[in-house]
Protein backbone atom coordinates (compact mmCIF):
# COMPACT_ATOMS: atom_id res chain seq x y z
CA UNK A 1 0.00 0.00 0.00
CA UNK A 2 2.98 2.22 0.26
CA UNK A 3 2.72 3.20 -3.39
CA UNK A 4 -0.82 4.47 -2.84
CA UNK A 5 0.34 6.65 0.03
CA UNK A 6 3.19 7.95 -2.11
CA UNK A 7 0.83 8.64 -4.95
CA UNK A 8 -1.51 10.48 -2.64
CA UNK A 9 1.29 12.56 -1.22
CA UNK A 10 2.47 13.33 -4.74
CA UNK A 11 -1.05 14.30 -5.77
CA UNK A 12 -1.54 16.56 -2.77
CA UNK A 13 1.84 18.17 -3.29
CA UNK A 14 1.28 18.69 -6.98
CA UNK A 15 -2.09 20.20 -6.20
CA UNK A 16 -0.75 22.65 -3.68
CA UNK A 17 2.30 23.60 -5.73
CA UNK A 18 0.08 24.11 -8.73
CA UNK A 19 -2.29 26.33 -6.79
CA UNK A 20 0.56 28.51 -5.60
CA UNK A 21 2.30 28.90 -8.91
CA UNK A 22 -0.54 29.25 -11.37
CA UNK A 23 0.40 32.22 -13.47
CA UNK A 24 -1.47 33.85 -16.30
CA UNK A 25 1.03 35.46 -18.63
CA UNK A 26 -1.05 38.06 -20.49
CA UNK A 27 0.20 41.06 -18.53
CA UNK A 28 3.72 39.89 -17.88
CA UNK A 29 6.88 41.05 -19.56
CA UNK A 30 10.64 40.67 -19.60
CA UNK A 31 13.27 43.35 -19.10
CA UNK A 32 16.76 42.76 -20.50
CA UNK A 33 19.60 43.42 -18.08
CA UNK A 34 22.25 43.94 -20.72
CA UNK A 35 25.43 43.89 -18.69
CA UNK A 36 24.65 40.92 -16.47
CA UNK A 37 23.09 38.60 -19.05
CA UNK A 38 19.83 38.28 -17.16
CA UNK A 39 16.13 39.02 -17.53
CA UNK A 40 13.63 40.42 -15.08
CA UNK A 41 10.19 38.89 -15.23
CA UNK A 42 7.78 41.74 -14.50
CA UNK A 43 4.07 42.08 -13.85
CA UNK A 44 2.48 45.03 -15.64
CA UNK A 45 -0.61 45.34 -13.46
CA UNK A 46 1.28 45.02 -10.20
CA UNK A 47 4.15 47.18 -11.53
CA UNK A 48 6.53 44.74 -9.88
CA UNK A 49 9.43 42.45 -10.58
CA UNK A 50 8.58 38.79 -10.02
CA UNK A 51 11.93 37.13 -10.49
CA UNK A 52 15.30 37.32 -12.19
CA UNK A 53 16.35 34.71 -14.75
CA UNK A 54 20.12 34.53 -15.30
CA UNK A 55 22.61 32.80 -17.56
CA UNK A 56 21.72 34.16 -20.98
CA UNK A 57 25.21 35.24 -22.09
CA UNK A 58 25.98 38.60 -23.72
CA UNK A 59 22.73 40.54 -23.88
CA UNK A 60 24.05 43.80 -25.28
CA UNK A 61 21.53 44.79 -27.94
CA UNK A 62 19.36 41.80 -27.06
CA UNK A 63 15.78 41.44 -28.18
CA UNK A 64 13.15 38.73 -27.86
CA UNK A 65 9.89 37.41 -29.25
CA UNK A 66 7.08 35.41 -27.65
CA UNK A 67 5.36 32.15 -28.53
CA UNK A 68 1.69 32.55 -29.51
CA UNK A 69 0.54 31.16 -26.13
CA UNK A 70 2.68 33.79 -24.36
CA UNK A 71 4.47 31.13 -22.35
CA UNK A 72 7.90 31.10 -23.97
CA UNK A 73 10.26 33.90 -24.85
CA UNK A 74 13.01 33.43 -27.44
CA UNK A 75 15.89 35.70 -26.52
CA UNK A 76 18.47 36.77 -29.11
CA UNK A 77 21.85 37.63 -27.59
CA UNK A 78 24.74 39.44 -29.18
CA UNK A 79 27.00 36.41 -28.72
CA UNK A 80 24.80 34.29 -31.00
CA UNK A 81 22.95 32.72 -28.10
CA UNK A 82 19.33 31.76 -28.71
CA UNK A 83 17.67 31.09 -25.37
CA UNK A 84 14.16 29.75 -24.88
CA UNK A 85 12.79 30.98 -21.56
CA UNK A 86 9.74 29.44 -19.92
CA UNK A 87 8.05 32.30 -18.11
CA UNK A 88 5.54 30.01 -16.39
CA UNK A 89 8.28 27.86 -14.86
CA UNK A 90 10.50 30.97 -14.59
CA UNK A 91 13.56 29.26 -16.02
CA UNK A 92 15.61 28.67 -19.13
CA UNK A 93 13.99 25.84 -21.09
CA UNK A 94 16.64 25.47 -23.78
CA UNK A 95 19.62 27.33 -25.15
CA UNK A 96 21.85 27.07 -28.23
CA UNK A 97 24.74 29.24 -29.33
CA UNK A 98 24.02 29.39 -33.03
CA UNK A 99 26.59 31.88 -34.32
CA UNK A 100 29.42 34.10 -33.20
CA UNK A 101 27.61 37.43 -33.36
CA UNK A 102 23.88 37.94 -33.75
CA UNK A 103 21.47 40.84 -34.01
CA UNK A 104 17.83 40.08 -33.32
CA UNK A 105 15.28 37.63 -34.54
CA UNK A 106 11.67 36.89 -35.34
CA UNK A 107 9.04 34.20 -34.89
CA UNK A 108 6.82 32.93 -37.70
CA UNK A 109 3.12 33.80 -37.74
CA UNK A 110 2.17 30.25 -36.69
CA UNK A 111 4.77 30.19 -33.91
CA UNK A 112 6.54 27.12 -35.25
CA UNK A 113 9.81 28.71 -36.42
CA UNK A 114 12.27 31.13 -34.87
CA UNK A 115 14.73 32.97 -37.14
CA UNK A 116 17.93 34.67 -36.02
CA UNK A 117 19.80 37.40 -37.86
CA UNK A 118 23.56 37.10 -37.77
CA UNK A 119 26.51 39.40 -38.23
CA UNK A 120 29.19 36.73 -37.93
CA UNK A 121 28.91 34.73 -40.10
CA UNK A 122 26.34 36.77 -42.01
CA UNK A 123 22.96 35.32 -42.77
CA UNK A 124 19.84 33.97 -41.13
CA UNK A 125 19.35 30.68 -39.35
CA UNK A 126 15.94 29.24 -38.69
CA UNK A 127 15.10 26.95 -35.77
CA UNK A 128 12.26 24.73 -34.68
CA UNK A 129 10.49 26.70 -31.93
CA UNK A 130 9.89 23.58 -29.83
CA UNK A 131 13.31 21.97 -29.90
CA UNK A 132 15.62 24.75 -31.16
CA UNK A 133 16.89 22.28 -33.80
CA UNK A 134 18.26 23.96 -36.92
CA UNK A 135 15.66 23.86 -39.71
CA UNK A 136 17.31 26.07 -42.35
CA UNK A 137 20.56 27.95 -42.82
CA UNK A 138 20.52 30.92 -45.20
CA UNK A 139 24.04 32.34 -45.60
CA UNK A 140 24.19 35.82 -47.13
CA UNK A 141 27.87 36.71 -47.07
CA UNK A 142 26.86 39.99 -45.43
CA UNK A 143 25.83 41.32 -42.07
CA UNK A 144 22.11 40.85 -41.90
CA UNK A 145 19.77 43.43 -40.37
CA UNK A 146 16.06 44.23 -40.12
CA UNK A 147 14.79 40.66 -39.78
CA UNK A 148 11.00 40.53 -39.39
CA UNK A 149 8.21 38.01 -39.76
CA UNK A 150 5.61 38.40 -42.49
CA UNK A 151 2.28 36.60 -42.93
CA UNK A 152 2.44 33.23 -44.70
CA UNK A 153 5.31 31.79 -42.69
CA UNK A 154 7.80 34.20 -44.24
CA UNK A 155 10.80 36.06 -42.91
CA UNK A 156 12.17 39.25 -44.47
CA UNK A 157 15.67 40.59 -43.88
CA UNK A 158 18.22 42.94 -45.42
CA UNK A 159 21.94 42.84 -46.17
CA UNK A 160 23.97 45.73 -44.70
CA UNK A 161 26.91 45.23 -47.06
CA UNK A 162 25.02 44.44 -50.28
CA UNK A 163 21.84 46.53 -50.13
CA UNK A 164 19.52 43.61 -50.86
CA UNK A 165 16.34 42.48 -49.14
CA UNK A 166 15.60 38.77 -49.08
CA UNK A 167 12.18 37.25 -48.53
CA UNK A 168 12.36 33.66 -47.24
CA UNK A 169 9.12 31.71 -47.61
CA UNK A 170 9.05 28.68 -45.30
CA UNK A 171 5.47 27.62 -46.03
CA UNK A 172 6.61 24.64 -48.09
CA UNK A 173 9.29 23.48 -45.64
CA UNK A 174 12.48 24.39 -47.46
CA UNK A 175 13.01 28.13 -47.77
CA UNK A 176 12.11 29.69 -51.11
CA UNK A 177 14.10 32.91 -51.40
CA UNK A 178 13.08 36.01 -53.32
CA UNK A 179 15.86 38.59 -53.60
CA UNK A 180 15.08 42.27 -54.03
CA UNK A 181 18.19 44.11 -55.21
CA UNK A 182 19.02 47.82 -55.32
CA UNK A 183 17.61 48.60 -51.89
CA UNK A 184 20.32 51.20 -51.16
CA UNK A 185 23.67 51.71 -49.50
CA UNK A 186 24.15 50.40 -45.95
CA UNK A 187 20.61 49.66 -44.84
CA UNK A 188 20.86 49.76 -41.04
CA UNK A 189 17.42 48.65 -39.84
CA UNK A 190 13.97 47.89 -41.17
CA UNK A 191 10.39 47.46 -40.05
CA UNK A 192 7.26 45.83 -41.36
CA UNK A 193 3.86 47.47 -40.98
CA UNK A 194 1.45 45.70 -38.67
CA UNK A 195 -0.64 44.47 -41.61
CA UNK A 196 2.49 42.76 -42.91
CA UNK A 197 2.40 44.63 -46.19
CA UNK A 198 5.11 47.30 -46.28
CA UNK A 199 8.72 46.64 -45.36
CA UNK A 200 10.58 49.92 -44.87
CA UNK A 201 14.37 50.09 -44.69
CA UNK A 202 16.43 52.96 -43.30
CA UNK A 203 19.63 53.78 -45.22
CA UNK A 204 22.82 54.92 -43.59
CA UNK A 205 24.91 55.34 -46.73
CA UNK A 206 22.59 57.38 -48.93
CA UNK A 207 19.56 59.65 -48.91
CA UNK A 208 16.02 58.48 -48.36
CA UNK A 209 14.47 55.22 -47.26
CA UNK A 210 13.30 52.21 -49.24
CA UNK A 211 9.90 50.54 -49.07
CA UNK A 212 8.97 47.13 -50.45
CA UNK A 213 5.36 46.08 -51.03
CA UNK A 214 5.22 42.48 -49.79
CA UNK A 215 1.81 42.03 -51.42
CA UNK A 216 3.43 42.52 -54.83
CA UNK A 217 4.12 39.28 -56.70
CA UNK A 218 7.30 40.79 -58.05
CA UNK A 219 8.41 43.15 -55.26
CA UNK A 220 10.67 46.09 -56.12
CA UNK A 221 12.34 48.81 -54.09
CA UNK A 222 10.29 51.99 -53.84
CA UNK A 223 12.38 55.01 -52.87
CA UNK A 224 10.83 57.07 -50.07
CA UNK A 225 11.77 60.68 -49.18
CA UNK A 226 14.62 60.84 -51.73
CA UNK A 227 15.18 64.44 -50.74
CA UNK A 228 15.68 63.51 -47.10
CA UNK A 229 19.08 62.31 -46.14
CA UNK A 230 22.13 62.70 -44.11
CA UNK A 231 22.48 65.67 -46.43
CA UNK A 232 24.71 68.71 -46.50
CA UNK A 233 24.66 69.19 -42.74
CA UNK A 234 25.69 65.65 -42.03
CA UNK A 235 26.01 65.03 -38.31
CA UNK A 236 27.84 62.28 -36.48
CA UNK A 237 25.59 59.39 -35.48
CA UNK A 238 26.44 58.07 -32.03
CA UNK A 239 23.74 55.42 -32.07
CA UNK A 240 21.82 54.00 -35.00
CA UNK A 241 18.10 54.74 -34.78
CA UNK A 242 15.74 51.82 -34.37
CA UNK A 243 12.94 51.50 -36.83
CA UNK A 244 11.21 48.68 -35.03
CA UNK A 245 9.72 51.16 -32.63
CA UNK A 246 8.08 52.82 -35.62
CA UNK A 247 4.82 54.57 -35.17
CA UNK A 248 1.73 54.49 -37.28
CA UNK A 249 -0.43 57.30 -36.16
CA UNK A 250 -3.69 57.49 -38.06
CA UNK A 251 -2.71 57.77 -41.71
CA UNK A 252 0.94 58.53 -41.13
CA UNK A 253 4.15 56.77 -40.23
CA UNK A 254 6.57 58.42 -37.87
CA UNK A 255 10.24 57.52 -38.18
CA UNK A 256 13.40 58.63 -36.44
CA UNK A 257 15.69 60.52 -38.84
CA UNK A 258 19.31 59.38 -39.05
CA UNK A 259 21.89 62.15 -38.68
CA UNK A 260 19.31 64.82 -37.90
CA UNK A 261 17.55 66.03 -34.79
CA UNK A 262 14.17 65.25 -36.30
CA UNK A 263 11.39 62.76 -36.63
CA UNK A 264 9.88 62.32 -40.08
CA UNK A 265 6.18 62.04 -40.89
CA UNK A 266 5.17 60.06 -43.96
CA UNK A 267 1.76 59.58 -45.54
CA UNK A 268 1.03 55.87 -45.17
CA UNK A 269 -0.90 55.69 -48.46
CA UNK A 270 1.46 57.29 -50.94
CA UNK A 271 4.70 57.43 -48.88
CA UNK A 272 5.21 61.16 -49.36
CA UNK A 273 6.55 63.38 -46.62
CA UNK A 274 3.91 65.14 -44.54
CA UNK A 275 6.14 66.90 -42.03
CA UNK A 276 9.12 66.91 -39.73
CA UNK A 277 9.31 67.64 -36.03
CA UNK A 278 12.51 69.16 -34.68
CA UNK A 279 13.63 67.22 -31.61
CA UNK A 280 16.06 67.64 -28.76
CA UNK A 281 18.61 65.16 -30.10
CA UNK A 282 19.05 62.35 -32.60
CA UNK A 283 16.06 60.10 -32.06
CA UNK A 284 16.71 56.43 -31.39
CA UNK A 285 13.11 55.26 -30.94
CA UNK A 286 10.04 57.17 -32.10
CA UNK A 287 7.26 55.05 -30.68
CA UNK A 288 3.56 55.53 -31.11
CA UNK A 289 1.30 55.11 -28.13
CA UNK A 290 -0.94 52.21 -29.17
CA UNK A 291 -3.85 54.53 -29.96
CA UNK A 292 -1.56 56.65 -32.17
CA UNK A 293 -2.37 59.86 -30.34
CA UNK A 294 1.19 60.48 -29.11
CA UNK A 295 4.69 59.63 -30.24
CA UNK A 296 7.36 59.20 -27.56
CA UNK A 297 10.96 59.82 -28.56
CA UNK A 298 14.26 59.04 -26.87
CA UNK A 299 17.71 60.11 -28.03
CA UNK A 300 21.25 59.01 -28.78
CA UNK A 301 24.23 59.57 -26.54
CA UNK A 302 25.02 62.14 -25.14
CA UNK A 303 21.47 63.52 -25.03
CA UNK A 304 19.97 60.26 -23.87
CA UNK A 305 18.66 61.43 -20.51
CA UNK A 306 15.58 62.96 -22.10
CA UNK A 307 12.21 61.92 -23.54
CA UNK A 308 9.98 64.12 -25.66
CA UNK A 309 6.31 63.46 -26.32
CA UNK A 310 4.82 64.61 -29.64
CA UNK A 311 1.11 65.20 -30.16
CA UNK A 312 0.19 63.43 -33.40
CA UNK A 313 -2.48 65.77 -34.83
CA UNK A 314 -0.36 68.91 -34.40
CA UNK A 315 3.07 67.20 -34.73
CA UNK A 316 4.20 69.40 -31.83
CA UNK A 317 6.13 68.51 -28.72
CA UNK A 318 3.72 68.69 -25.81
CA UNK A 319 5.90 67.31 -23.03
CA UNK A 320 9.57 66.74 -22.26
CA UNK A 321 11.24 65.33 -19.19
CA UNK A 322 14.44 63.71 -17.98
CA UNK A 323 13.88 60.29 -16.43
CA UNK A 324 17.64 59.94 -15.82
CA UNK A 325 20.92 58.93 -17.42
CA UNK A 326 20.74 56.76 -20.56
CA UNK A 327 17.11 56.16 -21.43
CA UNK A 328 17.39 53.15 -23.73
CA UNK A 329 13.91 51.85 -24.39
CA UNK A 330 10.20 52.43 -23.89
CA UNK A 331 7.35 49.93 -23.90
CA UNK A 332 3.65 50.81 -23.74
CA UNK A 333 1.05 48.73 -22.00
CA UNK A 334 -1.07 47.17 -24.75
CA UNK A 335 -3.78 49.82 -24.60
CA UNK A 336 -1.35 52.60 -23.89
CA UNK A 337 -2.36 53.90 -20.47
CA UNK A 338 1.18 53.48 -19.14
CA UNK A 339 4.70 53.44 -20.51
CA UNK A 340 7.69 51.61 -19.01
CA UNK A 341 11.07 53.24 -19.55
CA UNK A 342 14.48 51.64 -19.03
CA UNK A 343 17.01 54.10 -17.57
CA UNK A 344 20.26 52.21 -17.93
CA UNK A 345 22.64 54.25 -15.82
CA UNK A 346 20.12 54.87 -13.04
CA UNK A 347 19.61 51.11 -12.76
CA UNK A 348 15.83 51.54 -12.90
CA UNK A 349 12.77 50.85 -14.96
CA UNK A 350 10.41 53.79 -14.50
CA UNK A 351 6.69 53.65 -15.11
CA UNK A 352 4.65 56.67 -16.22
CA UNK A 353 1.00 57.46 -16.80
CA UNK A 354 0.75 58.50 -20.46
CA UNK A 355 -2.14 60.90 -19.84
CA UNK A 356 -0.89 62.81 -16.81
CA UNK A 357 2.87 62.04 -17.35
CA UNK A 358 3.03 61.31 -13.63
CA UNK A 359 5.59 58.75 -12.47
CA UNK A 360 3.80 55.79 -10.94
CA UNK A 361 6.53 53.39 -9.88
CA UNK A 362 10.17 52.34 -10.23
CA UNK A 363 11.69 48.88 -10.43
CA UNK A 364 15.37 48.25 -9.72
CA UNK A 365 17.24 46.62 -12.62
CA UNK A 366 20.90 46.16 -13.57
CA UNK A 367 21.66 48.27 -16.66
CA UNK A 368 18.19 47.68 -18.14
CA UNK A 369 17.72 47.94 -21.90
CA UNK A 370 14.86 46.33 -23.86
CA UNK A 371 11.42 45.93 -22.26
CA UNK A 372 9.10 43.40 -23.90
CA UNK A 373 5.49 42.74 -22.84
CA UNK A 374 3.90 39.43 -23.79
CA UNK A 375 1.21 41.23 -25.81
CA UNK A 376 3.86 41.39 -28.55
CA UNK A 377 3.09 37.71 -29.16
CA UNK A 378 0.03 38.70 -31.14
CA UNK A 379 1.52 41.36 -33.36
CA UNK A 380 3.16 40.99 -36.74
CA UNK A 381 6.66 42.41 -36.99
CA UNK A 382 7.45 42.52 -33.28
Amino acid sequence: MKWIANALVALVMTGSVHAETILATGDLGLVVERASGSLLLVDQSERKMLTRISGLGDLSHASLVYSPDQRYAYVFGRDGGLTKVDIVERKIANRVVQSGNAIGGAISDDGSLVAVSNYEPGGVRIFDADTLDLVADIPTGSKTIGLVDAPGKRFVFTLWDDGETWIADLSAGKPQITKVTGVGTNPYDALVTDDGRLYITGLFGEDGLTAIDLWDDNPKPIRVLPEYGRGQQEMPVYKMPHLEGWARAGREFVLPAVGHHQVLWINADDLTETGRTETYGQPVFAMSRPDGRQVWVNFAHPLNDTIQVIDTPSKEIIHAFKPGPAVLHMEFTPRGHEVWVSVRDAGKVMIYDTHTFEKLAEIDAESPSGIFFTSRAHKTGL
Binding site: A35, D79, N101, W160, Y188, M240, H261, P302
Partner: protein
Protein backbone atom coordinates in the same frame (compact mmCIF):
# COMPACT_ATOMS: atom_id res chain seq x y z
CA UNK B 1 16.70 76.91 -32.82
CA UNK B 2 20.07 75.82 -34.18
CA UNK B 3 21.78 78.14 -31.75
CA UNK B 4 19.86 76.63 -28.86
CA UNK B 5 20.88 73.16 -29.95
CA UNK B 6 24.50 74.26 -30.21
CA UNK B 7 24.42 75.74 -26.72
CA UNK B 8 22.78 72.58 -25.42
CA UNK B 9 25.50 70.47 -27.00
CA UNK B 10 28.21 72.68 -25.59
CA UNK B 11 26.96 72.32 -22.02
CA UNK B 12 26.39 68.67 -22.52
CA UNK B 13 29.86 68.04 -23.84
CA UNK B 14 31.38 70.00 -20.98
CA UNK B 15 29.42 67.86 -18.55
CA UNK B 16 30.43 64.70 -20.37
CA UNK B 17 34.09 65.72 -20.34
CA UNK B 18 33.99 66.08 -16.57
CA UNK B 19 32.06 62.92 -16.09
CA UNK B 20 34.50 60.92 -18.21
CA UNK B 21 37.63 62.09 -16.54
CA UNK B 22 37.45 59.18 -14.10
CA UNK B 23 38.79 55.86 -15.42
CA UNK B 24 35.57 54.07 -14.46
CA UNK B 25 33.47 56.51 -16.45
CA UNK B 26 35.71 56.15 -19.50
CA UNK B 27 35.54 52.37 -19.35
CA UNK B 28 31.79 52.59 -18.97
CA UNK B 29 31.59 54.85 -22.02
CA UNK B 30 33.65 52.43 -24.07
CA UNK B 31 31.56 49.39 -23.20
CA UNK B 32 28.10 50.96 -23.06
CA UNK B 33 28.27 53.58 -25.81
CA UNK B 34 31.02 52.41 -28.18
CA UNK B 35 29.36 49.07 -27.41
CA UNK B 36 26.21 50.21 -29.24
CA UNK B 37 28.04 49.33 -32.45
CA UNK B 38 31.03 47.28 -31.34
CA UNK B 39 29.24 45.14 -28.75
CA UNK B 40 29.37 45.31 -24.97
CA UNK B 41 32.39 42.99 -24.97
CA UNK B 42 33.87 44.92 -27.93
CA UNK B 43 33.97 41.78 -30.07
CA UNK B 44 32.04 43.54 -32.83
CA UNK B 45 28.52 44.23 -34.04
CA UNK B 46 27.64 46.52 -36.88
CA UNK B 47 31.10 47.93 -36.21
CA UNK B 48 34.19 45.70 -36.15
CA UNK B 49 35.94 43.83 -33.33
CA UNK B 50 37.94 46.38 -31.30
CA UNK B 51 39.62 44.09 -28.81
CA UNK B 52 43.42 44.43 -28.42
CA UNK B 53 44.33 41.70 -30.94
CA UNK B 54 42.13 43.20 -33.63
CA UNK B 55 43.63 46.67 -33.13
CA UNK B 56 47.26 45.67 -32.79
CA UNK B 57 48.19 47.34 -36.09
CA UNK B 58 47.33 50.75 -34.58
CA UNK B 59 49.52 52.88 -32.36
CA UNK B 60 47.99 55.06 -29.64
CA UNK B 61 48.30 58.27 -31.66
CA UNK B 62 46.56 56.93 -34.76
CA UNK B 63 43.85 55.19 -32.79
CA UNK B 64 43.04 58.27 -30.74
CA UNK B 65 42.75 60.21 -34.01
CA UNK B 66 40.27 57.64 -35.25
CA UNK B 67 38.28 58.06 -32.04
CA UNK B 68 38.36 61.85 -32.32
CA UNK B 69 37.71 62.21 -36.05
CA UNK B 70 35.89 59.02 -37.02
CA UNK B 71 36.42 57.20 -40.31
CA UNK B 72 35.05 58.86 -43.43
CA UNK B 73 32.70 56.72 -45.47
CA UNK B 74 31.88 54.43 -42.56
CA UNK B 75 29.45 54.59 -39.63
CA UNK B 76 32.29 55.47 -37.23
CA UNK B 77 31.48 58.98 -35.99
CA UNK B 78 33.93 61.62 -34.75
CA UNK B 79 33.84 61.80 -30.94
CA UNK B 80 35.75 65.09 -30.80
CA UNK B 81 32.61 67.09 -29.94
CA UNK B 82 32.12 64.93 -26.86
CA UNK B 83 35.59 64.36 -25.42
CA UNK B 84 39.02 65.86 -24.98
CA UNK B 85 42.20 64.68 -26.72
CA UNK B 86 43.46 63.36 -23.39
CA UNK B 87 40.34 61.27 -22.96
CA UNK B 88 40.60 59.91 -26.50
CA UNK B 89 44.21 58.95 -25.82
CA UNK B 90 43.19 57.17 -22.64
CA UNK B 91 40.50 55.30 -24.56
CA UNK B 92 43.01 54.33 -27.24
CA UNK B 93 45.39 53.01 -24.59
CA UNK B 94 42.58 51.09 -22.95
CA UNK B 95 41.52 49.53 -26.26
CA UNK B 96 45.07 48.53 -27.16
CA UNK B 97 46.04 47.17 -23.76
CA UNK B 98 42.70 45.93 -22.43
CA UNK B 99 43.19 47.87 -19.22
CA UNK B 100 43.26 51.47 -18.09
CA UNK B 101 46.17 52.71 -16.06
Amino acid sequence: MLRLVAIGLFFCSAAIADEHSSPDALIRLVHQDCGSCHGLTLKGGLGPDIRPDALSHYDVETLSEVVLDGIQGTAMPPWRPLMSETEAKKIAEYLLQGELK
